[in-house]
Symmetry: C2
Subunit: 368 residues, 2 copies
Amino acid sequence: MAPTRDVFVAVIGAGGVGKCVLSQLEGLTKRFATRPSSPKLSLIFISRSTKSLYSTEYTALPYENIAAKLDDSSQKTLSLTETIDYLAAAPAKVVFIDNTSSQAVADKYAHILSKGISIVTPNKKAFSGSYKLWQDIFTSASESGAKVYHESSVGAGLPVISTLKDLVETGDEVTRIEGIFSGTMSFLFNSFAPTEGSGGKWSSEVTKAKELGYTEPDPRDDLNGLDVARKLTILARLAGLPVESPTSFPVQSLIPKELESVASGDEFLQRLPEFDSQMEETKTAAEKEGKVVRFVGSIDVGKKEVKVGLEKFDRSHPIAALKGSDNIISFYTKRYGANPLIIRGAGAGGEVTAMGVTGDLIKVLERL
Amino acid sequence: MAPTRDVFVAVIGAGGVGKCVLSQLEGLTKRFATRPSSPKLSLIFISRSTKSLYSTEYTALPYENIAAKLDDSSQKTLSLTETIDYLAAAPAKVVFIDNTSSQAVADKYAHILSKGISIVTPNKKAFSGSYKLWQDIFTSASESGAKVYHESSVGAGLPVISTLKDLVETGDEVTRIEGIFSGTMSFLFNSFAPTEGSGGKWSSEVTKAKELGYTEPDPRDDLNGLDVARKLTILARLAGLPVESPTSFPVQSLIPKELESVASGDEFLQRLPEFDSQMEETKTAAEKEGKVVRFVGSIDVGKKEVKVGLEKFDRSHPIAALKGSDNIISFYTKRYGANPLIIRGAGAGGEVTAMGVTGDLIKVLERL
């Protein structure tokens, strides 16, 4: 039996975010080792698609070249069920870090938590899927005492979920949440409809964003609004609204109907200029009112309304004045009155997403 | 012996913030009572200047009309030392909530923590006094395992301290912190040098701010910059700089030399118009560069420089575009790059200050 202050960490997913998490985890493990009051962290399991690295004796895996070692691993890959059994049998408390965006893994969260294994993750799927899955997860955590934290599922490392929880838990009344929740959409509209100057053509901005790596491989995966809808689902539920799913409220897609079913992202980009006039009209209409158009998500808690789509804002509004690919989230509450509590900054990227994960891990460790 | 999940709460200070804390504490106690996984909170002690209410048997005080009952109390007042002895002998874990701004109470924090009593407070004095006091407090907490949280000591309920701690603890490199840390200064400069329009005379804006209750009874207590210097001291220390005291770095006072020693705040306000031309010059100089003047605090972590005073900002800068009496805090870090992580909102007021205290209390309870 390991000493009480041993905590085992299991990591699934070692891509962009996963690699940053591993690096931050290595730093944390070293810092903790110098402090008698901190637990001793041991990475006992890591997996990525069909590759796994783990010790049947639960001894710590060394971090040196771990991503390469994982790629070269010929160790028998454990299925998700086998992984959970392996972790549940560990002789110390375990924190499971899910860096994937897999629905299959998310569907196992309630089961994982029921085994006393805590979860930390940027994976939105578990919290923005069916409302039943949400309820199962938090009921399971409450019953077993295991913790589940997912700060990076909205706004990456920005303190969005923790702030909303604090507002609710301390008894404030959150009346409205509004913001720009997608780095891609932020970048696109800050370039297409800047507060100063006239901006480029919509299709050119989308193409540029793709070239700079700001969009998914197929830009339609950003333009359909579903990513923003998932984040809104999470925040609405935390604010107390039992939102059924990310498709149970109005979500405006910026994909022209005619291009929804074209075969590839490249073909989509090629044909997008045919539809530039639609977006140009929207921009001009806003300009006539002295405003700019932005792609926002909003939650009206009193009216129980959630929506995602284009809105017009005064040029001096914090949402209009955003830069680069920043996110911005405004919490309107009874205590804060007319001027909301606002959080702004990078809402995507490996390092800042991993920071939310590592920050959550620290919070779990303090509560175990 | 009370069951393990009993936690006792002691409150000192029942003025503006204190009353709001009591009200939020009552709400929290009721919500916790409905959840089997939450501790049972009992308020066992409350005091205010020469009045105290407590039970020698450590039974819970009812919240009904508690402020009035405290005012009418004829119970023997305990000295601070007696209070600590009373709490240290309690048959359950105790959280001490200090709603005062007393240096005498702050000086006892290390002793209180050494008795295993956790502390939650908006009182800046303990964390912005001598560096030795700071070290004693955190050494004592680390040795006894008691917790000490002070979110509301900077920016009231805004998640400023928790965010800075997360950045540091997860291994980010904080390079610069900059912001407007005083609701009074924010209000004054948003009116005196607005981004649109010309603003009023300096002395008129100070008088108006006082009439609206935005300043201390003697406005010089805001204009000397010490309140901002205290907050900067706290943030600089959390960022790793061993700042000796709030007077060990440059702090610009907005009190004209000639008015430093006039007898009263009223006389100060009466004579302030004689010095309007000085502030007008500063404003005009900024305007000539297309900028506005603001009273900011900044920390350059690399250069180990902390300073408080007037600075010029482009009209489109988030610090220039503030509204009302909002605070804004920008964290520049290695991970966040050129676009900082920004937190903005009300940084003063009873309810939002109490929210920071209640939020901290919840965090302590989760870690006890």
